[in-house]
């Protein structure tokens, strides 16, 4: 499990999972922001 300590090729593993995590976490957050903005536009009866 030497990838944990960033030795050898560990840094590549960290970067790969890091970039993916950011890309995957960003999307629901952006969607929720967009939904909130769209709801604010919609006047409630």
């Amino acid at each position: 499990m030497s990838w944990l300590t960033l030795e050898g090729h560990g840094v590549y593993v960290w970067c790969a999972y890091g970039v993916s995590a950011i890309a995957l976490a960003l999307q629901p957050w952006l969607a929720r922001r967009r939904r909130r903005a769209l709801r604010r536009r919609e006047p409630r009866a």
Binding site: M1, Y12, C15, A16, V19, S20, A23, Q27, P28, A45
Partner: protein, 240 residues
């Protein structure tokens, strides 16, 4: 029977269904991902030749599979929406596009990060990588066209046609490692023979694939709800 089939073609019913399904799908995605990551990063052995960088497999391969699957779903729903004049289906297709593009991006980036330590290069213009890059451009084109056409019916038709035109690329990506001598490794998992990897690795891979699939559906439903809010603005059921 036919009315049951088209029950969720109504944006209002789809919106409520999506709202109810999403939390479960997010939970499933997180659960599968947790199990898959434990399996892949902690339990499964590292590759004998590649060492620890083979751990990238568990994010790269599911993302690549999903990038192709989501394109098929997107083209399918776009075609359904155009053929049956069902705008909810076209909205779902538009919701799938950014998700697919993100998976393609992740596949390309994690692939490059895996290629650097194992092949010695970030990128190579072989058949599989090039066709996956083209897939990213196809997604971008779809999103661009959807944004450029203001009239909804024309946008739905145009996007459906474009998606169908690009369908040819998917078999090219999938079979590229069989048709050409590429640097990218060949298929380790086929339908006809036993998989050529350790069982724990296979389990981790399948769990991560299920996680990505749940994520993709949840994300598509989430974006579809945004599309509904944007394009059905002013509808009475929204004001309720």
């Amino acid at each position: 029977m036919r009315s049951r089939l088209f029950r969720f073609a109504a944006p209002s019913r789809f919106y409520r269904l999506a709202e109810r399904l999403e939390p479960w799908l997010w939970a499933a995605a997180l659960a599968f991902a947790a199990a898959g990551l434990v399996m892949g990063l902690l339990v499964a052995p590292a590759d004998a030749v590649q060492g620890e960088s083979s751990r990238i497999l568990f994010i790269h391969v599911p993302a690549a599979w999903m990038s192709m699957l989501v394109y098929l779903a997107m083209a399918g729903w776009a075609a359904v929406g155009w053929w049956l004049n069902a705008r909810m289906a076209s909205m779902l297709a538009r919701a799938l596009a950014p998700t697919g593009a993100a998976f393609t991006f992740i596949a390309l980036v994690t692939g490059a990060l895996w290629g650097r330590p194992t092949w010695g290069t970030w990128w190579v213009w072989d058949a599989r990588l090039t066709s996956e890059l083209i897939l990213l451009f196809l997604y971008v084109g779809f999103i661009a066209l959807a944004g450029a056409v203001e009239e909804r019916r024309r946008a739905d038709a145009a996007c459906a046609l474009l998606a169908v035109l690009g369908l040819v690329n998917i078999p090219v990506i999938y079979f590229s490692v069989r048709w050409w001598n590429t640097l990218h490794q060949g298929a380790s998992i086929t339908l006809s023979a036993a998989p050529k990897m350790a069982h724990t690795m296979l389990a981790g891979l399948l769990l991560m694939t299920l996680a990505m699939w749940s994520y993709a559906v949840a994300m598509a439903l989430s974006r579809a709800r945004c599309e509904v809010l944007e394009h059905e603005a002013g509808a009475r059921w929204l004001k309720a």
